[in-house]
């Protein structure tokens, strides 16, 4: 616990920024949701026949899993892409329902005798709404706004998956690097914020003091303004991305640090959910550069048939990127191939050293792998076909960051990871040899928007300066610094870059 506190204290600047980002995002979303839900809810009480379908629609939106909603929003023009914009839009979509529902229910719940009394007194419809119905429904409506705010704060944690920042950044980074302290450093403040905001809005609902109400409204307004300022990102910065696992984050930090040592301003959009998302973001201009692997680009992004020669793969991928306005920079110098990893004790007990050997144990093995591997064309299905394997149990899907934990705790017997994972050596795991050469080569290559290379002087040179500078033992060591020794990827990357230049 004291460990955790020290950990948090060490990061308080960054944590403070994340809290503000988190609150700003949630406040803006809640404010807009209220601005939509309140008038719409009032309208529904005036047009009863639209009420049921409108509320049903809002309910359906609510049931879309948040990650799926982000995924759906990414390809949309204007509101889509990555960063705070789609995140805030998704939060709004979720937050509208409670406001809408409570406004409708609150107004409908006003005693009909009072409604009629107001009418009989000769109050006009707008006067009845403003003076009688809304004030009487206000506790219920504010309850809805409160719910919307808490919901937004909760959901905003997941928004980090589309590079929106906020406290989810820590949670995702923590999951990616199997670092419980990081997860808690994100999750605990987020929970605190939710409780705090709920309490504050609760007091607001009961309080008749205009001063306090005003103060809270000003605060919400200021936070929303902060979010809006954040949205328009004025300084020309190079946006560096990464996928959501340790090595990708490290490479992102290495690229970012390299640019920064050359005086190029950088925006970090790390822990994005997968190759597809990063690629979309590049095409949309939301990202300028990230590090991809040649085999992934070949088969997964461009859907080309498998090749096993390193140079051939690089040539094909380079041409494909060229066609869509992107450029491949020289490889960093190592391959990160898929690795089928088992515990050492199992390796010796069943004498397993090659993937072909798995036939011996295919009836009893419990497999764990990340979702992307299940889906990819160079993934699980192709692997079992190529080796003629038929596993008795279906693989369980889990986050890349959790796989080695699961393997160590014997929740799974075989994990699909990468040859460069720092934890393999650190935990004494064994990598099975790809004896049939099923996997294509995975060279680490920076991919950048050509427009960004032209726009930012020195960007291309900076990226070229990394050519061939990282070999396999080096990246494995850096990975271990983060995964095994629980160090911050940014510090590890900064140290490494210092030794380079």
């Amino acid at each position: 616990m004291t460990d955790l506190l020290a950990f948090i204290a060490e990061r308080r600047d960054e944590l403070g920024r994340l809290v503000v980002e988190h609150l700003a995002m949630s406040a803006l979303a809640t404010l807009i949701a209220a601005a939509i839900g309140l008038p719409l809810g009032i309208l529904l009480t005036r047009r009863e026949r639209f009420a049921a379908p409108a509320l049903a629609l809002a309910n359906v939106v609510q049931t879309i899993p948040s990650l799926a909603l982000f995924g759906l929003l990414i390809p949309l023009p204007l509101v889509g892409g990555i960063g705070p914009r789609p995140a805030i839009l998704a939060l709004i979509l979720y937050a509208v329902l409670p406001v809408l529902r409570n406004t409708y229910d609150g107004i409908r719940g006003v005693d009909p005798a009072l409604r009629e009394a107001a009418e009989a007194l000769g109050l006009r419809p707008m006067e009845r709404l403003r003076l009688i119905e809304l004030p009487l429904a206000m506790p219920v409506i504010l309850g809805g706004v409160r719910l919307a705010a808490v919901l937004s704060i909760g959901t905003a944690t997941i928004a980090a998956a589309v590079g929106a920042g906020g406290l989810g950044t820590y949670v995702l980074r923590g999951i990616a690097t199997v670092d419980t302290r990081l997860i808690l450093a994100g999750a605990i403040p987020a929970a605190f914020l939710a409780v705090l905001v709920d309490a504050a809005l609760g007091r607001l609902a009961r309080s008749r003091s205009p001063l306090r109400t005003g103060l809270i409204l000003i605060l919400v307004g200021a936070l929303s303004a902060a979010a809006l300022v954040d949205l328009r990102s004025p300084v020309p910065r190079v946006v560096v991305g990464s996928k959501n696992f340790t090595e990708s984050v490290l490479l992102g930090e290495i690229v970012a640090a390299t640019l920064e040592t050359r005086g190029i301003a950088v925006d970090r959009r790390f822990n994005l959910g997968g190759a597809w998302l990063c690629h979309r973001a590049l095409l949309a201009g939301d990202l300028d550069v990230y590090v991809e692997y040649s085999g992934t680009a070949l088969m997964d992004i461009f859907k080309r048939p498998k090749e096993t020669d390193r140079a051939t793969v690089l040539a094909i991928v380079g041409a494909e990127y060229q066609k869509v306005g992107l450029a491949v920079l020289p490889p960093l110098g190592y391959e990160n191939n898929f690795a089928l990893v088992i515990r050492k004790e199992d390796a010796s007990r069943f004498s397993l050293s090659r993937i072909s050997d798995l036939v011996k144990v295919q009836d009893r093995l419990r497999l764990g792998m990340f979702g992307e591997f299940l889906e990819r064309s160079d993934g699980f299905r192709g692997l079992t076909a190529a080796y003629g394997l038929a596993f008795a149990k279906p693989p369980s899907e889990m986050d890349l960051g959790l796989l080695y934990q699961a393997l160590e705790k014997k929740l799974v017997d075989l994990a699909v990871g990468s040859t460069t994972d720092g934890l393999i050596a650190a935990r004494g795991f064994v990598v099975l040899e790809d004896d049939q050469r099923y996997f294509p080569p995975y060279d680490a290559i920076p991919v950048a928007r050509r427009a960004a290379l032209a726009e930012h002087a020195g960007l291309a040179e900076a990226l070229q300066s990394l050519a061939g500078r990282i070999d396999a033992p080096t990246i494995q060591r850096l990975n271990h610094e983060v995964d095994g020794r629980r160090r911050d990827p940014r510090d590890v990357a900064a140290e490494f870059v210092k030794t380079l230049f």
């Binding site: 005798a113 009072l114 009629e116 009394a117 107001a118 009418e119 009989a120 007194l121 000769g122 109050l123 006009r124 006067e127 003076l131 009688i132 004030p135 009487l136």
Partner: protein, 246 residues
């Protein structure tokens, strides 16, 4: 005396079942108090709601101050009519002064004029302004709420007052005192009033004339004395008999 309110052959139906009002006719002379007496479902409240246009008739004509209600500007019509319901129908989020002063405030009176009027009205209905102005409805007794309700109905000085079971929720002693005071006040101010009630004793106590409604029609119309003495054969006779202690 000209009729201030005139219902002519009015029929009102709701979705299913027999009409609530079935070619009913009623006229209320200016300055008089008429009680609409009947069991629940007899159409008495509906008749009241047709007058301030909270409901529209399916057939027939409703005149207020000699003019068909649909020819009136709706807001203007309702400001000519004070409406008092059970428990006063006070707005729980407004204090007494705001409840009473709401209509004058909406009519654009100055703040000073509104608060003068509020004090005047509270005094009129027997409440000390200083003690009651700042109280909220939940801090009042049933009788006090009823008085505030009357003050509110009187705020715009309407010629006509409609009472819908105004004393229903009160204890017998408070009820009797309020009935007497209300009658006195209406008479003193020269207002015309219609009181809906299911209580024969109440009707006799407050009204100049009583119209007994049964199945949507006026079964008998008479002064209280005449009604008690010579109730019409059938429904009215049994209603009167059932309401009189043996």
């Amino acid at each position: 005396m000209p009729a201030l309110v005139d219902l002519r052959d009015v029929t009102k139906r709701f979705a299913s079942g027999p009409p609530v009002l079935d070619r009913a006719s009623l006229d209320v002379p200016e300055g008089s108090i008429l009680a609409l007496l009947g069991a629940s479902g007899s159409g008495k409240t509906t008749a009241l709601r047709l007058i301030n246009r909270l409901a529209q008739p399916d057939e027939g004509l409703v005149l207020v101050l000699g003019k068909p209600v649909e020819a009136w500007d709706l807001i203007e019509l309702r400001r000519k009519i004070g409406y008092v319901i059970q428990e006063g129908g006070l707005f729980p989020h407004f204090d007494v002064a705001r409840n009473v002063g709401l209509v004058p405030e909406r009519m654009g009176w100055s703040e000073a004029k509104v608060s003068r009027r509020v004090r005047e009205l509270l005094t009129l209905v027997g409440l000390d302004p200083a003690a009651f102005e700042r109280r909220f409805p939940r801090e009042l007794s049933g009788g006090q709420r009823q008085r505030v309700g009357l003050a509110r109905a009187l705020a715009a000085d309407p010629p006509l007052l409609l009472f819908d079971e105004p004393f229903g929720a009160l204890d017998p002693i408070t009820r009797r005192r309020l009935q007497d005071e209300f009658r006195g006040l209406v008479k003193r101010l020269g207002k015309t009033a219609i009181v809906v009630t299911h209580d024969l004793a109440e009707a006799c106590r407050v009204a100049d004339e009583i119209a007994v409604l049964h199945e949507g029609r006026v079964a008998q119309r008479a002064t209280p004395k005449a009604l008690l003495k010579e109730p019409a054969e059938g429904y009215v006779a049994s209603f009167v008999a059932a309401s009189t202690p043996e």
